[in-house]
């Protein structure tokens, strides 16, 4: 993929729309996984990932090498997602009359999209530390390799395996508990 990314980066920097779109398609899933891991909210994740990717694509000159593009992009997504969390914390501290019209964070879109399985998965993910959420989403949802995840997070491959093992075990235990509660 690195060769393709190198080729696409060169063309995209020259304003090639098709190359830019291909870069988006190649990285949108991983970027969304990171945004979801940090925010825990699919609607907010969609918003923040779009803003972050636009910001990244307008700064392609900052990319040092094709190999560093994905980690660089995901760091932008991570930073913006954390900024969103901080602003969300400030908003939630405001008096009630200034609070958002939907204080429970729900939206019509989210309500209609909600499914039992997705809710359970989200509830399960919410119990994990952020780094484990990111590792398990990038690996099990997006299909990234341990090495790629390690490069993105700046941690050794062995640590990625450790986080993945713990995340899967905790997630499975949580989902089983939720199923038992329902049963």
């Amino acid at each position: 993929m690195s060769d393709e990314v190198a080729h696409l980066l060169g063309r995209a920097q020259g304003g090639d729309a098709a190359a830019m779109e291909r870069l988006v398609r190649l990285h949108l899933g991983a970027a969304y996984a990171v945004a979801l891991a940090v925010t825990g909210d699919p609607v907010e994740a969609e918003d923040v990932v779009q803003d972050a990717m636009v910001a990244a694509l307008t700064r392609l000159g900052d990319v040092r090498s094709p190999e560093s593009f994905a980690p660089w992009l995901l760091q932008i997504v991570r930073n913006r997602s954390r900024n969103l969390l901080r602003s969300r914390a400030v908003r939630s501290a405001l008096p009630l009359e200034h609070a958002a019209s939907r204080p429970d964070g729900s939206s019509p879109l989210r309500d209609t999209e909600r499914s039992e399985l997705r809710d359970r998965l989200r509830d399960g993910l919410a119990t994990l530390p952020e780094v484990q959420r990111e590792v398990v989403l990038l690996h099990d949802m997006e299909g990234w390799k341990h090495r790629e995840i390690g490069d993105s997070l700046g941690i050794p491959e062995g640590t990625v395996r450790y986080h993945l093992f713990n995340a899967r075990r905790a997630l499975r235990a949580r989902l089983s508990a939720l199923l038992r509660e329902d049963g």
Binding site: G15, A17, M20, E21, V24, R25, L28, G29, Y32, L36, P42, E46, V49, Q50, M53, V54, L57, T58, E113, S115, L117, R118, L121, R122, V136, L137, H139, D140, M141, E142, R161, Y162, L164, F165, R168, R169, L171, R172, L175
Partner: protein
């Protein structure tokens, strides 16, 4: 150390192709719009001033030509050549003056397009 993968596919944004395509289009469109080159104010002034300066030079040339015709003596041609050179007018414009002829329509269009400046 192995734990079976968890099926997280229901959380993937591509599960809804319409929303996925909308996101791709939105990101690409906004990125293209925001990275499009913009014309700086200085570049705009230069772009605007070039034909204006050409027009001013043409008017000056016509005026000097009329003056030279009115005087009608030999020293007038020399004086006009000096004036034209002092004004740093292009050679074709100076020629109109010294030859005591008014520029043709083609000459003026040529000058207004800025090709001779």
């Amino acid at each position: 150390m192995h734990e079976r993968p968890v099926d997280l596919s229901s959380l993937h944004p591509a599960r809804d192709p319409v929303r996925w395509e909308a996101m791709v289009a939105n990101i690409t469109g906004r990125a293209l719009a925001e990275s499009a080159p913009t014309r700086s104010p200085l570049a705009f002034l230069v772009w605007w001033a070039r034909p204006t300066l050409a027009a001013a030079a043409a008017v000056a040339a016509v005026s000097l030509g009329v003056l030279a015709t009115a005087r009608g003596d030999a020293s007038g041609a020399t004086a006009m050549r000096s004036v034209a050179e002092a004004l740093n007018l292009p050679a074709p414009v100076a020629d109109w003056i010294v030859e005591e002829r008014s520029p043709s329509d083609a000459d003026l269009i040529h000058a207004l397009e800025g090709d001779i400046l």
